[in-house]
Subunit: 682 residues, 2 copies
């Protein structure tokens, strides 16, 4: 690639900024963990509760299945983490699930994963914000009493922050995430100490409540189905695990190993927290019901519709630390904050995925160029709008939203892992080195098991959750899939239409001469500039053209033209209806008809102004004319700008916009690495 070496050094001032950014961007593990793990770690705030909630349908006696379900989730977590450690090593360029599926399984699989991920990002926002509001509500009742409003307000706030362009700062993520993890571990340790060493009885706020089972005495197939449903809900703990595989380029070297280790650490933390919370919930007799208003009894009577069912993590915290104590409030706040950060990761991931999809022409091309504020803004607004819609439809109820959540995650898990199996197969076909082959076979086995297990879970989730809301997620995926297919088809059709023929003679007749026309309304600086630029172009014919909209003005123009001796013939077009566009278009067409081999160059002096309201006062006719001229074949349209003094304001605004930092910049890593390293694409 030819480097730009002949640019004056002054431009290098821009370079300084670039290396600055680069340094900032590379993440040490201790920062990378919170940046990428706020999403999966935060899910332990709601996943354990969802398990208990589903089990309660068969009555509180079914709670004793919860350790088994926790164990299944743990096995699944280990499988997924082990699988993604292979992804991270095989695709150090940051091959996310989309790239892995696209490369190894073909574009349809890739697009399916992409659709699933897009739905997932929307749900990450909706679920995390709703759960965050519920956790905050255990400390501040007002928030949970106006759940939908609070959730919407927080989404709007996050959206404005991201539109404005907050830099995704590692430290911003680190503090609440570590406080949250520390708080949960402190809670687990203190609870275990109290229960096992001091022998205290842990009493959750709902310890004395009773549950009226929806289906008491469930057994046989029905019980298995319920357990599978509970397991499906518990799988919410796995959402967001795949995020690291997109973000390898953001790690410090050795990138792959650091990413893999961070992944393992994250898995270990999540599993411990998940199991610990379930264990403490059992120990402190937490009671949760799917429909608490009618199925949860206090002193023999249903608690009624005013009852607020607090998340399991906050009930456990109340049992361990005591309700309203400092640690209780701190943990509630940290939990809510981590959940909001988890939602924010979707704001960062959405444009990143959009940019990759745009590169493959599934989305508008301008999404591909980084730092294109307008394109990013559209994506962010779309994401936020969809999330707010879901929050309103589901009343910001995290339990109901989670039913939609897990489908997309497991669609991409399964396809990504299947793709990895293909990846190893391909490499194995070419590899002769025995040690390397052994290593690859082992990796393939891990990914194959991952694909099998996550595929199984996907089936379970689909079967147990379909009517509970999973169909909504599938519908969303179909809509994304259809839209992106249509966009790609459009681009392909256009590409075919405009593809250059091999034989130049094949093309339409090349123009031989240029007839230039300068549009003139008055003799003023912009006109004079346009005329003098037009002269420079040395076209074969040059004339000035004016439309006679007002006879007095036209006469004045002609007189002034002659008086100044402007050496370009001035032609006047009559316009009986005071139109400008039509006479000019008709004149240009007549020129083309007279000599079809000539091109017509229309030169328009244009005012450059600084404020939107000035646009209403200038250039409107010119713009309209330009729009129409573009439809006329054989015409090119040249704007000769004249910068009015007020344009300085707009220039300053444009410069400011350019320095905007796009969301997701940190987790993406420096861009030149990403595009220059072999990207594993076929």
């Amino acid at each position: 690639m030819s480097k730009l070496t002949d640019l004056p050094k002054r431009i290098l001032i821009g370079r300084a900024l670039r290396s600055d950014r680069l340094g900032e961007t590379l993440l040490p593990k201790r920062i990378a963990l919170p940046v990428f793990a706020s999403d999966p770690l935060s899910s332990v705030a709601y996943a354990p509760g969802e398990v208990l909630l589903v089990l309660s349908i068969a009555g509180v006696s079914a709670y004793h299945f919860s350790p088994w379900i926790a164990a299944a989730v743990v096995v699944l977590m280990f499988t997924v983490v082990a699988s993604y450690r292979q992804n991270v090593r095989a695709y150090p360029s940051g091959g996310g699930d989309y790239e892995v599926a696209n490369t190894n399984l073909g574009p349809k699989a890739g697009l399916t994963v992409a659709s699933a991920l897009l739905v997932d990002y929307v749900l990450t926002v909706a679920v995390s914000i709703s759960a965050g509001v519920e956790n905050l509500g255990s400390a501040i009742p007002f928030v949970v009493e106006h759940k939908t409003f609070s959730a919407t307000a927080i989404i709007v706030l996050l959206t404005l922050m991201n539109l404005r362009g907050v830099k995704e700062s590692g430290k911003l993520f680190a503090i609440p995430t570590y406080v949250f993890v520390g708080g949960v571990f402190l809670m687990l340790a203190w609870g275990a100490f109290k229960g096992l060493v001091l022998g205290d009885t842990l009493q959750a706020p709902t310890a004395d409540y009773e549950i009226k089972p929806e289906h008491p005495g469930l057994a046989g197939f029905a019980l298995v189905f319920l357990l599978l449903r509970a397991f499906s809900s518990g799988c919410a703990a796995l959402t967001g695990v795949e995020a690291i595989s997109n973000g390898v380029p953001a790690f410090r070297k050795p990138k792959s190993r650091n990413a893999a280790n961070t992944l393992a650490l994250m898995g270990a933390l999540a599993v411990t927290m998940f199991c610990g919370i379930i264990a403490l919930a059992m120990a402190s007799d937490v009671k949760m019901a799917e429909y608490p208003a009618k199925d949860l009894y206090r002193d023999g009577a249903p608690v009624g519709p005013d009852y607020v069912q607090h998340p399991v993590i906050s009930q456990v915290a109340a049992a361990v630390f005591g309700d309203g104590t400092f640690f209780f409030v701190l943990l509630a706040a940290a939990t809510a904050l981590v959940l909001f950060l988890a939602a924010n990761t979707a704001y960062n991931g959405f444009p990143l995925l959009g940019s990759i999809l745009a590169q493959d022409r599934y989305l508008p091309r301008q999404l591909h160029t980084r730092g294109d504020r307008l394109a990013f803004s559209n994506g962010i607004v779309l994401l936020a709008g969809a999330a707010v819609l879901l929050v309103w439809i589901y009343g910001a109820d995290s339990t109901r939203l989670i039913q939609l959540y897990i489908v997309g995650v497991f669609v991409s898990f399964t396809l990504s892992q299947t793709g990895m199996v293909r990846h190893w197969n391909r490499l194995l076909a070419a590899e002769r080195n025995k040690a390397k082959r052994r290593h690859m076979i082992r990796s393939r086995a891990i990914n194959a098991f991952g694909a099998f297990f996550t595929g199984l879970v996907l089936v379970v989730v689909l079967v147990t959750k379909f009517t509970h809301g999973a169909w909504v997620a599938l519908l969303g995926m179909v809509i994304f899939f259809g839209t992106m297919t249509a966009i790609r088809r459009h681009y392909d059709r256009v590409a075919e239409e405009i593809s250059a023929p091999e034989e130049p003679a094949d093309d339409t007749v090349r123009p031989s001469r240029v007839h230039s026309i300068v549009l003139v309304s008055k003799v003023h600086r912009p006109t004079l500039r346009a005329v003098s630029y037009a002269r420079l172009m040395r076209s074969d014919r040059l004339e000035a053209l004016s439309v006679n909209v007002d006879p007095d003005e036209t006469r004045a123009l002609q007189a002034e033209w002659e008086r100044r001796g402007i050496n370009v013939p001035l032609k006047i077009l009559d316009s009986p209806y005071r139109e400008i566009t039509r006479p000019v278009i008709e004149y240009v067409r007549s020129l083309r008809r007279e000599s079809p081999r000539d091109a017509v160059s229309v030169i328009i002096p244009e005012y450059v102004v600084g404020h939107w309201y000035e646009h209403l006062l200038h250039n409107q006719s010119a713009l309209r004319l330009k729009g129409r001229l573009l439809f006329t074949p054989g015409v090119m349209v040249t704007s000769v700008p004249y910068q009015l003094e007020s344009s300085e304001a707009a220039k300053r605004r444009a410069r400011k916009r350019q320095d905007w930092s796009a969301p997701g910049a940190v987790r993406r890593g420096p861009v030149d690495r990403r595009t220059k390293e072999p990207s594993g694409k076929g």
Copy 2:
């Protein structure tokens, strides 16, 4: 003025349309009367009621002053009609109040009149629609029970019709107007016959009601004030009289005389109907109160808030024809329809005035060019929005809206008549012919009396109505005045900034050479076309420029460029952040810095597409870049369009738009007359 004689005859196909339109446009008197008079004639539907309503404040005994008030209105009507007959004769080009005031009294007076007229148009819509709904409501109760909603719906309907571009058809106006006038005269005749010949007692629906006066036994100054207020309300009958003076060019020859005679006929009809309705209202004992709910008594008790006070014209019709009879319903429908047509005249007059104001640079210039759909649409939406706002604020209550209405009318009457006096003074100073002088002196006397009388009424209206709502109209005028002054000031400042210096050397250094750059992303037809056009221009240096956003694509581009042997050097700019705009801008700036006397010509291949959603998929980077380049001095930007197949759709749409007929086309008359005849401007 040089004529366009070298255009091929094919273009004359357009001419045919023009003469068509011309024939359609010239109005015989019998059609001109309904076109211009629906506004003033329709006001007899509410003006008599307003008089009774104000008088009722002093009790029903004050009703006997109503003939005196009617007489005063008649005298005023004759004065105004006589005055405007002078206007019509002196300004056959259609000098409306704005032009008369502007020419003879200076720009401030002109702008005051313009502001008053703009406010007036808004109020014409609000008042006429509200009164129409009230009249329709006497036949269809639902309409008046949902007054605000109905009025809004009708305004929206009218707006959509006008946005769509309904041709203002003479016949459309003629039928309801003549049915209305015929119906009223039939009612007057039949009522007089029944009362005077048959000796029947006419009984209005409210004949047996009693009025509790707000201020019983009013006398002295207070009574005079009340009578003046009643007179002010009666003056609503004069609104719209001035419309003909704008429309002289639309009349058949002899234009001025036909217009003057139509004016006289309109005045006679309005006065007869106004007085007849008042007389029948007195004869049939109509009772109207300002606050009927508490001041109107039936069988000794107030009628209460559910009572709907029907317009005086419908009460009289009920007395004469009988409630619910065929003629009653026909008259109610015709009255409502004429009132809606009156509202529609504002939709026609507003853009006409806007176009004249735009010519004087008080409004954005594009309003001046006729048939500019977008500009007209903005005006129509503004008018409708303001009218809907008033309808909502005042609950579509015509009585309350009328308080705002009359100020604007009399501001323009007074200033216009004063302007006419000046006009005659000027002519008299130059005229020596005795007969002509005598004629002028007589005209001046009429206009002087008109100015005096309308000025007096203006003072009366201001004094009696100020607190009742006239201040709102004044505020509206001030806002229009301020906005238009600011726009004019902006245009003047820009005109000064861009005015061409006398000495060419005075200007910035003229560029001596052109460096052309063709922006290239791929080798396809649009690019090849842009390159071949760029070659035609024979600039001093020509190079192709591409931004390296994706290294693979850039390498492919370079290979293809060489393979095809395209004879233009290809330069690649690096873009570490996948930006397009910034590297190009910086490169252009560096070129300008290297040789400041050269101009840079940036040539951009542009896709022309047919649907809005395709715009989202194409040209976005090019558009953004173009926007930024315009701020860079010494640069011209050329679009080389490539019409995709889908662009045909947009072309068809654009053609359709071009044939759109602007509102107000009929009443304006053919445009070339208007601009070619001496326009009376100083």
